[in-house]
Point group: C2
Chain length 192, copies 2
């Protein structure tokens, strides 16, 4: 069986990764699946352990880091988030294309460990538009918003680390561009 692709979808927080993903993830030709992440943040209402995240204590998470069990991990607003390597490999070995929607610092780690990963960076039409989006959806205090804005601005500097850059001016077009990228890579794998 042909091994599945590893696709990294990343970009500054607030850029609209989730919205874009909803437009393409249901396309069956893409044969996508998700690797459940591990996190130390508390479950939100409705979230299920093992489905939305593997919820973990800080101790267990740090143990996983030490043992090399995470493809990437990051600390964000006081919580750890990471991707269990075993889970990703299991899915790829089943021939599934694994989509990782992850933070920028995590994405860089994955690319170092998996040079064959297809990394896609979503950029906003402008930094002003990104600020508007971050403020628009947030119910958090100004201090946290300022942290997010500073983080997003730093994350934008990582654009050159990615294979593909897609601007989210029009989420539907962004989704179609991502589909095109994935389908071309599936075709290239088949012809190998």
């Amino acid at each position: 069986m042909q091994r599945g692709l590893l696709i990294i979808l990343s970009g500054p927080s607030g850029v609209g990764k989730g919205t874009i993903r909803k437009y393409f993830e249901t396309d069956e030709r893409l044969n996508l699946t998700y690797s459940t992440s591990m996190t130390t943040r508390k479950p939100r209402a409705g979230e299920v352990d093992g489905r939305d995240y593997f919820f973990s204590t800080r101790e267990d998470f740090e143990k996983a880091i030490q043992e090399g069990g995470l493809l990437e991990w990051a600390e964000f607003v006081g919580n750890y988030y990471g991707t269990p390597l075993k889970e990703v490999n299991r899915l790829r070995d089943e021939g599934k294309n694994v989509l990782l929607e992850i933070e920028v610092q995590g994405a860089i780690q994955v690319q170092e460990k998996c040079p064959d990963a297809i990394s896609i960076f979503i950029i906003p039409p402008s930094m002003e538009e990104l600020e508007r989006r971050i403020r628009g959806r947030s119910t958090e205090p100004e201090e946290i918003i300022q942290q997010r804005l500073a983080k997003a601005s730093n994350e934008m500097k990582m654009v050159s680390q990615y294979k593909y850059i897609v601007c989210n001016d029009d989420p539907k077009l962004a989704a179609e561009l991502i589909k095109t990228i994935i389908l071309r890579h599936v075709e290239l794998e088949e012809n190998k």
Copy 2:
């Protein structure tokens, strides 16, 4: 009748614009046409006046500039190149999508005059790869090659002036991304 789109395909010289174009220009869904350019350079073997270019004297070209008859124009390695405005409007009024494959400085001029233009910038995977391509296909003296390299390096700085950026790592994928962009804009026009 719905007015055609104006699509600008640009990028540093040597990046492979022509190769990419060959992959998508024959797709009938795109309803593409070309506006014949005007130039003062001498016809090459096999080139036909009015088909490949409108070949012009420097005097006539400069008169066209004065009269505002050019959507854009540029001087490159001692020759003028430009796009007759009248010709572009005629084709768009017929409902055709006009593709302009033009130099970077020209592309900036068109975007100023036609803010509705869909501008696509092709970038190389790296500057090293661009130099390799420019040297690989050139039969010109080192001095001219150096001019081209310096020009390409300057042109890369204009990337932020464009609506869409497409990397030419894989010409077939680049062509498919451009198709996706054009078809989405056709769809948006139809829904207006």
